[in-house]
Amino acid sequence: MGNRVAIVGAGMTKFVRRAQETGKELCYEAAKMALDSCDMNLDQIDAVALGTAPDTFDGVHMKGEYLSDGAGAFGKPYMRSYVGGGTGVFSVAQGWYHIASGLMDTCLVICEEKMSSYRPHPQGAFLTIFDHTTERPLKPNLLWIFALEMNRYMSTYGLRKEDIALVAVKNKNNALDHPCAQIAKAVTVKDILNSEVLAWPVQRLDVSPVSDGAVALILTNETIARRVTNKPVWIEGVGWSLETSYWTNRDLCYPRYVEEAARMAYKMAGVTCPRQQIHVAEPYDPFDYKELHHMEGLMLCGKGEAPQMTVDGITQRDGELPVCPSGGLLGVGNPIAAAGLMKVAELFWQLRGEAGKRQIARKPKRGVAQAWGDLMQVGTVVVVGI
C-alpha cells in the first residue's frame, strides 16, 4: 500500500543564537546543501514542504509565504505545515504523504526558525500561546507549563533532579561532536544543579537555548532513490496526534499523545516491540525531563523507567539504545521547527554511517525521531530504517 518514500539528502545551517542571515537565506543555505548532498538540482524537485513554528518569532505574518523564495518554492506546489514544536518531525510526515500519495516523485522538506528577531526576549513570544481569556491575564511564562509538568512527573515517580540532570549532561556532551552546535560545552550534574533556578524545578541548564537555524531533507520515491543514492534511508512509519487543548484537565505525568502518535507510526513500520526493533532514538528534548517523558511515550521503556535507563548508561552513544546522539536540542540548539528536523537528519546520517565522531558504536538499522509541541499536546513521530 502506498509508495515507499526515502530520504536521500540532508543539509543544515549552523545553529546560532543570532544569525545575520535572514530567514529566507537560512532556508536557502540548508536547502542548497541538501540538494548538493545528493547531486540534485531544484528542477528535479516536484514539491516543497515547509515547516516553521510561530510567526511571532520571525516577526512576519504568514511566515510560510515570506520564506517561500528562499525555500526553493518558486513555481512549485508549496505548503507550510504547523503543529507548534512538533512541526519539525511532522514536516517529514508532510513530505511523506506528498510522495506516498503517488502525486509527487520528489519533495524538498525544509524547516526554519529565527527566534532572535523577537524583542526584547524570544521567550516573550510564548505568552501568546496561552488562552487569551482564561490564562493570558495571569501573565504566564513558557517555563511554567514545563515546570508544572516536570514537577508532576518527578512527584509521580519520586525522582530526584540529579537523575534528570543526567540527560542534559549526556546531550550537551554529545553536542561537542556536532559541527553545528550552538553551545558545545562539557557540563556535569553539579553544573546543572548549581545553575540559576528559573522556575523550580526548571533551572537554566535544564533548558535548551533559543536559536536561529534551518534544516532541509530531500525525499524521493523508490525509483528515484535507487538512482541517486546507494544508501537510501526509508521512511517506514509516520504518526501524529493532538491532545485536547484543555491541558489543565489532563494528567501531566504521561504523554498519551506521544504514545498515540508512536502507535500510528509503529503500526505503519511493522514495529511490534520498539525496545528491540529500534536501534537509535531522537526524542524531543527541549528540557531534560522531556527526553525521559518522551522515551516512555515512545514505549522504549515502561512508564517511569526512563530515568533508570539513563542512570544505567543505556542511552549513551555506546549504550544499547543511544538516545539523542546528535546532542539534541539541549546541546545543538533549539530553532523550534528546524530542531525537530535536525533529529531526522541525524538519524539519516547515523543510519548511513556518516555521523563522523557522533557515529554510534552499534550499526543501527532503524531509528525513531519524535517531536512535541503546543500546550504539551502534540506528538509527531517518524520511524526510519535501512
Partner: protein
C-alpha cells in the same frame, strides 16, 4: 442551529481585549548588508547576478529564486529607471484616511531584472504615466543609516 444553547441578550455578548505583543529586530541579511552599505556609503544600487539565467536581482538575493544558483557576483546598476506601475495610497497603516496621500511606484532600475518598490516624490499622481523615467533621491550621506529609507523617494526626470 447546531448548538443547544445561545446567547439571547445583547448585553451578554462581550469581547475580551488583548494583543499580540510583537516587537522585532530584523537583520538585513547577507545580501541586504551589501545592498544597504553600498547605498549608505556610495549612493550606488547593487544587484546580484545569476550567471545561469542572467537575472539581476535588485535588491540582491544570495540565491537565484528560479534556478537556485548561489549568487556571489554583485553588480552596480543605475539609480534611474522606468516606472512599471504606481498608485496613490489614501489609507494609512492604522486604517484611517491619510490627509496627504502617499504615491508609490514600482521602479525598474536600468540594468536590473526586477523592480524596486519605493515612494515617488516631487510629483503628483496626475503627472505620472507608465514607463516614465524616474531617479532616486538619497538622504544626505551623514543621515543615512543602512536602510531602505536612505532613499527618500524617486522623482521624475525630464528627458
Amino acid at each position: 442551529m447546531a448548538m443547544k444553547e445561545r446567547l439571547t441578550k445583547a448585553d451578554e455578548a462581550k469581547p475580551w481585549y488583548g494583543e499580540l505583543p510583537v516587537e522585532s529586530l530584523y537583520t538585513a541579511g547577507i545580501a541586504g548588508e551589501k545592498f544597504f552599505r553600498s547605498i549608505q556609503e556610495k549612493g550606488v544600487f547593487l544587484g546580484s547576478k545569476c550567471h545561469k539565467c542572467n537575472m539581476v536581482y535588485v535588491p540582491p538575493k544570495i540565491y537565484c529564486e528560479q534556478d537556485f544558483e548561489k549568487l556571489e557576483d554583485y553588480v552596480e546598476v543605475a539609480d534611474c529607471g522606468s516606472l512599471e506601475s504606481f498608485t496613490c495610497v489614501h489609507i494609512g497603516l492604522d486604517g484611517k484616511r491619510l490627509l496627504e496621500p502617499m504615491i508609490v511606484g514600482l521602479i525598474n532600475l536600468d540594468g536590473a531584472s526586477t523592480s524596486i518598490v519605493h515612494m515617488l516624490g516631487e510629483t503628483t499622481v496626475e503627472e505620472l504615466c507608465m514607463g516614465m523615467r524616474v531617479c532616486a533621491v538619497f538622504k544626505p550621506k551623514n543621515k543615512r543609516e543602512g536602510a531602505i529609507t536612505d532613499i527618500l523617494y524617486f522623482k521624475p526626470t525630464k528627458q
